[in-house]
Point group: D2
Chain length 312, copies 4
């Protein structure tokens, strides 16, 4: 059975395995889920940015939820991204997630109109009041243009159905203020988005990370999380060094600003977990860049010299 | 019969009249269409930013297209906004627009992932190749984060089904480069987004404007367009002064950054064209701000001292 | 005799001819002054951005003022840039300018600390109260991070010793608001910074431009200014096309963001007006880029096929 | 005797005590130096941003260096800010610092022209080649617009006279990359600018912090540094909580964006260390805001209920 709340630790934002026709590749989804759960992750997050949620049609989004919830089958908590620029369609996805047995939903702000903090807070109050599942705020200003001010987070913390925040701003000044704010509601969860900041986030009091790289090497991030929780700074620095190498070697091969997205999915293909097909506006990397990623996977010890996946 | 291409002049981005339940208010849509066409506009643009297109569900979007195309009935060209973060759903809207008799579609870039110019160009080539209607590029970096580089515009100009660009960047340096680029394809249309820049844009060689204020006072913008085309600088300055007063008096009452959106729709309610209902994340202005807009409409001569609409 | 105020028309921000040792090249300064005055400019602006003012030591700055004022000798008004992060040193430069017979000073905001509008306004009130010469505000947010809000401009307009603004923001929405604001003080001058926007600025009611390209081809900008003032739109478009070609051919050869600076000075060297020596942090272009600029000068008709300067 | 390199730990960016006439208040400088050295700091940094260096005239800058070096008299290392938009004047300040016995200089990039990485690197190579003292890079993009790319830092690491970097970007992703880069030159020091990030920075491997708040409460930051170095996470969180309270209570009373600057100096006045006089463009806080800071100092336990300084 799932442990449900509190959802702490490493929760990979699952890449969405796609066919060339941009439909869900169900067997690859199963493989990927088994891979990350086998690596010890504490939950999975469907249809986030790494999962290309906002680029998928409503039909494919529902397929992902159906198949993932059934296959996870309570082994770990399941979070579902419901970010949409239309409130009704966002709520329909929350309803669908609840029916499929998901544990929580995650929503970034509506992402077309630039909005102010009042409008931002009102949207999330409407959303959380109507959502059948607990709602995580998803702070992602690089994609949606607006950040949750601390005052807005405090306002939203008053709603019991808002259970935490995933902060992908990469701003530790802000993250520290989130931790300060949640002193008033200790069960409010604060998760780190960028995997390169997982260590700092947990050392200073955060609850874990939504690490894209955990699609590929879940155990590395689980180990780093545990080292940070236990205050083993020497082990933290050793593992953090591996995280930084992963980041600089894999996520900067494909062209900015989506090098992370193309890097991680190409690596997943190279280790045999899913094909590197993308929903537009993303697309596959050219051959030369794929070859570089293969080389870097060998340098990182994820592939061996012959390109075979090494047991870890 | 519609004159179709070239579509020059004043093309208001039609506000979408909504009921309190966020469904389409059909009679108000008819009124608003008759009002702007009666004011001499050269086309209408449905489901743009001013029309709250990205905040509306697919069902309401289709209602707007159905009802507006039927009611316009060929009196002026109809453009339809199909901006979406999912390519398939964008194309479905283009198909629907074609079936209803629209003349062109208008698409801003996909607006969730930050993307590069290659990805941006590829998206629009896929879109225009599949679209049954000519496509206007919609440059709106404040909302979608990416701007069409001139090199990308030149690449897209090579596709016959891409017919022009609506530039809402408010960057006249960029606008001047668009005009320079289209020397190589003279039928490529260059329209100005911000109504406060309509005059400069037309004086320097642009083809017209997608002026939100033309929902309210279409004749003012039609007159300014004609003065600029004919090089009557004195008349341009007189009318430009009225445009600037409209802008500073109406669009800064509601809170930033959506003061334009709330200002224009509240004004439309006050002159009896449609109710000031909004799709989330926007919402109605408080009473005091509505009162200020009413006062400003009187100052501008749109309403008389008793709040009644003046004949113009 | 100089006409002094109002200072309207084309006022080139004079490049500062330097030796390899970053001292003033006095004969080249004379040549350049005679070149632009011979081309019909309505004033000259020393020690602006194009003149590398903030990169020069106080000693070189004073040399420039001494020599230029003496050589101009009242033929046209002289404006002097006194931008500094230290108020006292800025005022010392204003004193020196007055002693040398300059007509006005031009100051951008202090450019180290990010400041607010209150601090910005206070600085300019201190500056203008103590300045022996009229002060032009210099709006240059790309370099100094802060822009003069319209409300701050209105506050500063109340000081008689503040005589105008040079707007290098490239934001025509803002420029239009400046024109609207100065209706309350008609002698307040509004000059355009970016030469590519000179035409729009004058057509819509501005007073002229501080065009860097006028160092090289003063007559082109003087002619464009006069065409715009007289409302000859056909001539405006012809000359504007030449301005755009100049801009795209010369100012993008050197690396961003200082391609304009290196392009214009290299062109000045190629036409024999001054050497292309720069004060750090700028430096000379590599040979290949110099060659490209020479080729482009031929394409533009500034040099002939043998690289000789053509009479214009 | 001073320990000189490596300079690790807490190095306050010393506030510059000024008279009302913007001259140096020498006795207050002595008091402040004795206060921070008595609090256990590991060095002092003169003429940084907190010291209003770029707002001071060359004469006052030299006074600060003279008096501070003489008074410190080798008790701790002295670093001097030499940031200037003119290279020669920056180097003159480095010469003066060397003569006075300072240990190192600290330079932010030239801060008027936006520059590229090549120009940025070239400037620092010129500067470090000519500087008689070791040079710290000062990464301060919010003030100078450009950040040192990691590749530029790697280029500059090759110069022995460049001894480290003070990173005030507040970007921990970047900070982590600095730590990764210095693996190739282990004696290259990496110091944290924002005091709210001191803990994370040291926990992940950084060398200390240039904490403005250490002007007021040096012992708090020294204790936090030592707790982080020793991996005492419980103590880190306790002290970090105090740092966050200090930050949110003192630095947001004065208007943005200089609330930190006005907050810290007003607090220094209230505890009797120096008067809250500022060089333009900064200025004193109004009475009401001063009263709030006094109240907050009591809340923080820095002042007692009667406004007297508490012994700590």
């Amino acid at each position: 059975m799932t442990q449900r709340f509190p959802i702490r630790g490493i929760i990979p934002p699952l890449a969405t395995p796609l066919t060339r026709e941009t439909t869900l590749d169900v067997p690859a989804l199963w493989r990927l889920l088994d891979h990350v759960i086998g690596g010890g992750v504490h939950g999975v997050f469907l249809l986030g940015s790494t999962g290309e949620g906002p680029s998928l049609s409503g039909a494919v989004q529902r397929d992902v939820i159906n198949e993932a919830c059934a296959h996870v089958n309570g082994r770990v908590p399941v979070l579902v991204g419901i970010t949409d620029s239309n409130l009704d369609e966002s709520l329909e996805l929350a309803e669908h997630s609840a029916k499929c047995g998901a544990d929580a939903v995650v929503a970034a702000p509506p992402f077309y109109f630039p909005i102010n903090q009042q409008q931002l807070g009102d949207w999330f109050i409407s959303l959380s009041d109507a959502s059948p599942l607990p709602v995580f705020l998803y702070n992602m200003p690089s994609h949606v243009k607006v950040s949750f001010d601390i005052a807005t987070v405090r306002r939203l913390m008053e709603r019991p159905n808002i259970c935490g925040i995933k902060d992908s701003s990469a701003q530790m000044l802000y993250f520290n203020e989130l931790l300060q704010a949640r002193a008033d509601r200790p069960d409010f969860l604060v998760l780190t988005g960028p995997e390169e900041l997982l260590a700092e986030g947990v050392l200073i009091g955060g609850d874990g990370g939504v690490c894209g790289g955990a699609n590929l090497v879940p155990r590395l991030f689980v180990d780093l999380y545990e080292a940070a929780v236990s205050g083993d700074l020497k082990q933290v620095m050793t593992l953090q060094n591996r995280v930084m190498r992963l980041s600089t070697l894999l996520y900067r091969v494909g062209p900015a600003p989506t090098g992370f997205m193309t890097g991680i999915k190409t690596a997943l293909e190279l280790v045999g977990l899913c094909e590197a097909n993308f929903a537009p506006p993303l697309g596959p990397l050219p051959h030369e860049q794929r070859r570089m990623i293969a080389q870097h996977l060998a340098d990182l010890g994820v592939l061996d010299a012959k390109g075979a996946v090494k047991r870890t």
